[in-house]
Symmetry: C2
Subunit: 316 residues, 2 copies
């Protein structure tokens, strides 16, 4: 792991996504000193005006501190953002990510350091990709061999081994959940019951029904129909449906990840992220016989600082 | 199989669904003499006024022919329709379906015969259901032991054995296809390319990528992400996406059905239905080493006639 002692001055980490701009000002030791959050997502920024917009948004800090190192992660590093930073192939260590950064010196002398995403060329039928989650994985730590899951619209399962991210795979679980509960026969069945609040009992029933042992557990296209047949059988109420389907789909994700070799019963798994799904993923993980290591809420910032430290080590 | 000689007079078969009303007037021997199709779906009919609406819609035939036997299938037999006809449990023969019908004598002396749906109580976690497809299965024929697939929004896979429908399972493949191509990241990727027309090459690539051998083939939540990574890798064009995803999902359906025991390589399969998907399902079936028996376009009418004949045998 790179020494964070390379960070001997305040610095900024910016998560600049499609719909929002979120920046933190950090002391050299990582203490958060200030935050700026706005709705200036990259979709609202014209090609060619990213630098100006960045300097404007961070003007309060830059006036007070002078030139700063500004680490940028998120869609700002994609084809639709400021500068497309090529994916770094797995297996990769922090140093590989640092080498994959693109650095620009800005008008006021600050340095923008754009972080790369990563790709897994071993994945079939096409190389898999992530952009942002690799920084969270670094923040979680590459010093323990482990399987990590990062819940989300497009969940990422990754293997860490020998101080590197050795491979990963995307599961579009969150997207399927949104599609089913907003637009499908399930949405119609659950209509009008949204105020019922969270029902963890229904969630746990979904886990059990969503990943039965035996080959029938692989029949996901069939298993989700239980959301309808359960209602017809009088065993599910409209207010149960959202949480039942949530449990069913996350259990399917774990079953499929297990079949892909990501874990076996009795192992430990790290759950990384802060999108509100960690608790649900932890419940499912325990159902699959896993020990859970909870990731810090600051994994993204911690990871960005480590990559910055490694990049500075290269530069100085 | 019941003798169709019980049908010694003209009769009517009505498929009355949520959004449409479709009736055919048949001679005793099954020859189609006339059709009436309107937009009077059951959602536009008030509870209590189904009989009046039916007699009004069929007035031209009833004036000319007098009282007729009128077989009704579709959502008109559901909780939201005219009369809820209870599901008949599998395994079931034509005679069981005939016994499950509900008959009403109408104001002009005609008889309305509402056909039941069927349920498979052996299915976990809840009994599976169909309403309408069982009539198509009867029309295809129960005299050959076989696995049948009825493609659709909610595809049905059924086993026919010993002259009975022995069991079945629903796969929501068509619904997933619509959700993914209308509302998801895939919809956004394919936007603007809808006029490209059918691309069976992309469809066949989807089949291969959608059901690889080995445990990774079970990871459907991951496999569909290939629609994005294939574009990022420059291997899929926006115009390919719809057909690629169609192939991928139908191949997943076959893989899952195979894992559930519906078929093995080298067997024969019947493809029943007329929703335009039969050709695609036949291509995927051959990819899985199956011999295809094509169902007639008239399976629903043929089945309704057989159940009517059996019901009349009971009544007379």
């Amino acid at each position: 792991m790179p020494s964070l002692s390379a960070l001997n001055a305040p610095h900024v980490v910016v998560d600049w996504g499609t719909t929002s701009f979120r920046a933190v000002l950090l002391a050299a030791d990582g203490t958060q000193r200030d935050r700026i959050e706005t709705g200036d997502g990259i979709q609202f920024v014209e090609k060619g005006s990213f630098e100006t917009r960045l300097l404007t948004l961070l003007a309060p800090w830059l006036s007070a501190e002078g030139a700063l190192d500004i680490v940028l992660v998120g869609m700002v590093t994609s084809r639709n953002g400021w500068i497309e930073v090529p994916y770094v192939p797995c297996p990769c260590a922090v140093e590989d990510l640092a080498k994959g950064t693109i650095t620009r010196t800005l008008a006021n002398g600050s340095r923008a350091i754009l972080l790369p995403g990563i790709t897994d060329p071993a994945r079939a039928p096409f190389p898999d990709v992530m952009r942002g989650e690799e920084t969270q994985i670094v923040g979680f730590g590459l010093d323990r061999d482990a399987t990590l899951v990062l819940p989300g619209t497009h969940s990422k399962w990754a293997r860490v081994a020998g101080g590197r991210i050795s491979g990963f795979r995307t599961f579009v679980t969150g997207e399927f959940f949104a599609l089913l509960t907003q637009h499908s026969f399930i949405a119609r069945a659950a209509a009008g019951s949204e105020s019922a609040g969270e029902d963890m009992g229904a969630f746990e029933r979904g886990i059990v029904d969503g990943a039965p042992e035996g080959a029938e557990g692989d029949a996901m296209l069939s298993l989700v129909f239980a959301a309808r047949t359960g209602m017809l059988a009088g065993k599910l109420a409209p207010g149960d449906i959202r949480d039942y389907v949530s449990g069913l789909l996350i259990a399917q994700e774990f079953r499929q990840a297990r079949n892909c070799g990501f874990f076996a019963r009795g192992e430990r798994i790290g759950i990384v992220g802060n999108d509100g799904l960690n608790r649900r993923y932890a419940i499912v993980a325990r159902h699959f016989g896993l020990d859970v290591m909870d990731g810090s809420d600051h994994a993204a910032i911690d990871g960005a600082r480590q990559i910055l430290a490694a990049a500075k080590g290269d530069l100085t």
